[in-house]
């Protein structure tokens, strides 16, 4: 008894606030969570913040979107506009478009919120894209993060779906034209296309159901899925810990950076307001989707300059690039009374299909080629993985060609060139652009590696020219400090893995293919300078004043 009475008295906070927080903490264990999460370390680099930008844009989308739902009416019933925008006064239109106009002109702050919402949507998908590019080019998708890469890809698709369903809601001419294109694409799917279209639109396009259905998808299903994916994504980030760029003291077993609390949390919290501020500024000063210009949807008019929002642009561009006929070769067939229109089906679904298939499979492809089953937490500098970087740039170039094609008419008018020529050039680039981009990128990456190697071995060019007693001029090279040199030499440079027999002593055909790919991946390589080479170069450096000429020749050792 006496022992228990002398035990530490239960903690009693001194202040009211302290007692209150203690009360809550004892019941929900907040301090434990905070202790755990607050000590999570995040490396600091500007390129690590695009995921955050996407997250914050999404939060802003939820907030502004909620505001918009208060005033938006997703009905396709017909009405006559009686609001304050005179050029549309008394025009027959759907209730959805009517309410979008009212949000724009008659709800206080409505236009601002609409513009915040739309700019945030564009920024959301853009920052997602840039985030994925960063992850790809730095090799952050490698083990253990392959599944998180897939979750990210799913998020990209969901973001596009959210964007497209939202783009269609105001029921203006532009969005109706966009829906009509989607309807055409759906109908081009063999056999089931027409059924899907009729199911989706509740009959023949446009029907009276589509806006309401898209609205449910846009404000309920898609955001819920996005939220779920974000939770999974962030959960995995916590489990895996954050990757870091190579540097002294950084390896696959540690994370060097700031703890979440308080510095990083403050930065991240502040960054939310920066993103919000930038979006608010854009929304206040720049028009986006001026639906009043486009007028109500009517299936007959199609305005010049009809484009989807940027993230659907590559599909639209592919459609624009596809020729209807080549000489006498048609792409449309009638098989058993069903029309198969390859000139819609091919461009609309195949490039997007290829891009997303390769995107989802890439971590496994590289893993198979390299047979690399180790965990990677230190990132690659893009130049140190030349083939991967070149593949990424080739894919991005392909995407950009299609993307540019979506604006072919504007390229034609604004650069005073013929629309036909723009299309011909982009068609050519569609095929050779990625190949050129691959070759050029790989060469640039290898050249940068060689430059790194030279700087590591011989130091930085100082620009100081010295004349020696016998008349020769040399440039003095300053040696690098160890930290900078580490960055230039501390990376892995895999060599091609030849085919090896399996447990039965057989070299399978698949293994041969893998070996061939491995050779293609890694045969062009610039090895990082080894300690021995550094040593030799360092010793060499002492004689530099005399043997500067020989120095240049020694690059290849």
């Amino acid at each position: 008894m006496s022992a228990s009475s002398t035990a530490e008295a239960p903690f009693v906070a001194k202040t009211k606030v302290g007692r209150f927080t203690d009360f809550v903490d004892e019941r929900v264990g907040g301090s434990g969570i905070l202790r755990e999460f607050g000590r999570k370390v995040f490396p600091d680099h500007w390129s690590f913040m695009f995921g955050e930008v996407a997250l914050y844009s999404f939060v802003i989308l939820l907030m502004s979107g909620t505001f918009l739902t208060f005033f938006f009416d997703p009905s396709m019933a017909e009405t006559h506009y009686q609001g304050s925008y005179t050029p549309l006064y008394n025009v027959e239109m759907s209730v959805a478009y009517n309410s979008s106009l009212n949000i724009s002109f008659d709800v206080r702050g409505g236009l601002f919120m609409r513009q915040v919402h739309h700019w945030a949507a564009l920024l959301f998908v853009a920052s997602l894209g840039v985030h994925m590019l960063r992850v790809f080019f730095t090799g952050a998708f490698r083990k253990p993060r392959e599944m998180n890469w897939v979750v990210g890809g799913v998020l990209l698709i969901l973001a596009m779906a959210a964007g497209f369903t939202g783009y269609s809601l105001p029921d203006d001419l532009l969005s109706g034209n966009g829906l009509r294109i989607i309807d055409g694409v759906i109908k081009s799917i063999p056999v089931i296309g027409t059924y899907i279209s009729f199911f989706l639109f509740g009959g023949e396009f446009p029907g009276t159901a589509i806006i309401g259905r898209l609205y449910v998808l846009h404000i309920l299903l898609v955001p819920a899925l996005i939220l779920l994916m974000i939770v999974i994504h962030l959960f995995m980030v916590v489990v895996h810990k954050h990757t870091q760029y190579p540097g002294p003291g950084r390896n696959d077993g540690n994370v060097v950076g700031y703890p979440l609390g308080p510095v990083y949390a403050a930065k991240a919290g502040g960054f939310f307001f920066i993103v919000f501020g930038v979006l608010a500024l854009m929304a206040a000063a720049f028009t986006i989707n001026p639906i009043w210009n486009y007028g109500p949807y009517d299936p007959s008019p199609v305005s010049a300059g009809t484009q989807p929002d940027w993230y659907i642009g590559f599909v639209d561009g592919a459609l624009r690039l596809m020729p209807g006929v080549i000489n006498n070769f048609h792409f449309e067939y009638i098989i058993f009374g069903h029309t198969l229109t390859l000139n819609v089906l091919l461009p609309a679904l195949v490039p997007a299909g290829i891009i997303f298939t390769v995107l989802f499979m890439y971590p496994w492809i590289e893993r198979w080629v390299t047979k690399d089953n180790r965990e990677h937490h230190v990132l690659d500098r893009p130049r140190n993985a030349p083939t991967r970087t070149a593949i990424g740039v080739a894919g991005f170039t392909w995407y950009c060609v299609m993307w540019a094609a979506a604006g072919s008419d504007l390229i034609a008018t604004h650069f005073h060139v013929s629309l036909n020529d723009v299309t011909y050039w982009l068609r050519t680039l569609f095929f050779i652009g990625p190949i050129l981009a691959f070759i050029v990128t790989k060469r640039i990456a290898l050249a940068l590696q060689r430059k790194d190697r030279e700087i590591a071995l011989h130091g930085r060019e100082t620009g100081r020219i010295v004349r020696l007693p016998h008349g020769e001029f040399i440039e003095v090279h300053a040696p690098l400090d160890e930290y900078k040199r580490y960055k230039l030499v501390g990376f892995e440079s895999p060599v091609p893995l030849p085919a090896t027999p399996n447990e039965h002593g057989v070299v399978t055909r698949k293994e041969k293919r893998r070996a061939a790919l491995s050779k293609w991946f890694f045969e062009d390589r610039v090895a990082p300078a080894t300690p021995a080479e550094l040593e030799a170069a360092h010793a060499h450096g002492h004689h530099e004043a005399i043997e500067a000429g020989a120095d240049q020749k020694s690059l290849s050792h």
């Binding site: 005179t86 513009q115 854009m282 028009t287 210009n293 007028g295 010049a304 300059g305 989807p308 930290y483």
Partner: protein, 262 residues
């Protein structure tokens, strides 16, 4: 009536019927086309205007359009294009053409108003064609909403819903319509310059044209309610803006936020 029904099997009945049919269709056609025919009122031009215009034409236009505006291989005949066509082409500087190309470009006007009017008088005297529209059609007091509907149905596919212009094939284009006078818009519709189709009076009535002009002038005067319009080019300029300006500013902030560490 009885006499008529008795003679319906007369050998000449078929011919008579054919004649009547032809007369009817021909007459209707004549009525229909005369509706489209702009009331070429050469009356308002004096003989000296026509004469002066003829001289100007011979000196400045005949190289391509031929003496008497009968056309050469370099330029079409202008007989019957009307005063409106001349007023548009010369009044906007498109004619005399600067250089051969997919279509005549706008440039500083080469003739003063009097000379333009004399040229118009001369060409109008060669054959009936659309006349320069009357003032009451250009008063910009029509129904803007009606004009907007007409514009979206007839014009937006080339000129863009916000009249920002658009591309046509092989280097041709539909120009942006901001800063174009109501008179020139009307004349363009009536005469179909360059690659533009003619919107005659039975296609879009003079009141409809007035509404369209009212609509265009209204949206031009309204400006952009949502802030800078980024050229009214739609999602392409918006996408470019978010990638370059939006993301650019955000990246600048990320660099600033992470700049204090190695």
């Amino acid at each position: 009536m009885k006499a008529l029904s008795q003679k319906r099997r007369h050998p000449l009945a078929a011919i008579a019927l054919l004649l009547m049919g032809l007369l009817l269709t021909g007459g209707l056609y004549a009525v229909a086309t005369s509706v489209n025919q702009a009331k070429a009122d050469t009356t308002s031009y004096s003989a000296s205007d026509v004469e002066q215009g003829g001289k100007l034409f011979a000196a400045n236009c005949a190289t391509c359009h031929g003496m008497g505006a009968s056309g050469t291989k370099d330029g079409p005949s202008l007989v019957g294009v009307g005063a409106a066509a001349v007023d548009f082409q010369v009044g906007t500087g498109r004619m005399p053409m600067q250089m051969n190309g997919p279509q005549a470009q706008k440039k500083p006007v080469q003739f003063n108003e009097e000379q333009t009017s004399q040229l118009a008088a001369y060409v109008a005297s060669l054959g009936a064609g659309p006349a320069i529209p009357e003032e009451h059609l250009l008063d910009e007091k029509g129904d803007a909403a009606k004009g907007g509907e007409l514009f979206r149905v007839n014009c937006a596919m080339c000129h863009n819903a916000a009249a920002a212009g658009g591309a046509l094939t092989r280097g041709k284009f539909a120009p942006a319509l901001a800063d174009v006078t109501g008179k020139h818009i009307y004349e363009a519709m009536a005469t179909g310059p360059q690659n533009m189709p003619v919107f005659n009076d039975s296609n879009v009535s003079p009141e409809g044209k007035r509404d369209i002009i009212t609509f265009l002038k209204t949206i031009e005067a309204n400006g952009s309610p949502g802030g800078a319009d980024l050229g009214s080019l739609g999602p392409v300029s918006e996408g470019l803006f978010v990638w370059i300006a939006g993301l650019g500013v955000i990246i600048a902030f990320t660099i600033w936020l992470t700049s204090r560490t190695s």
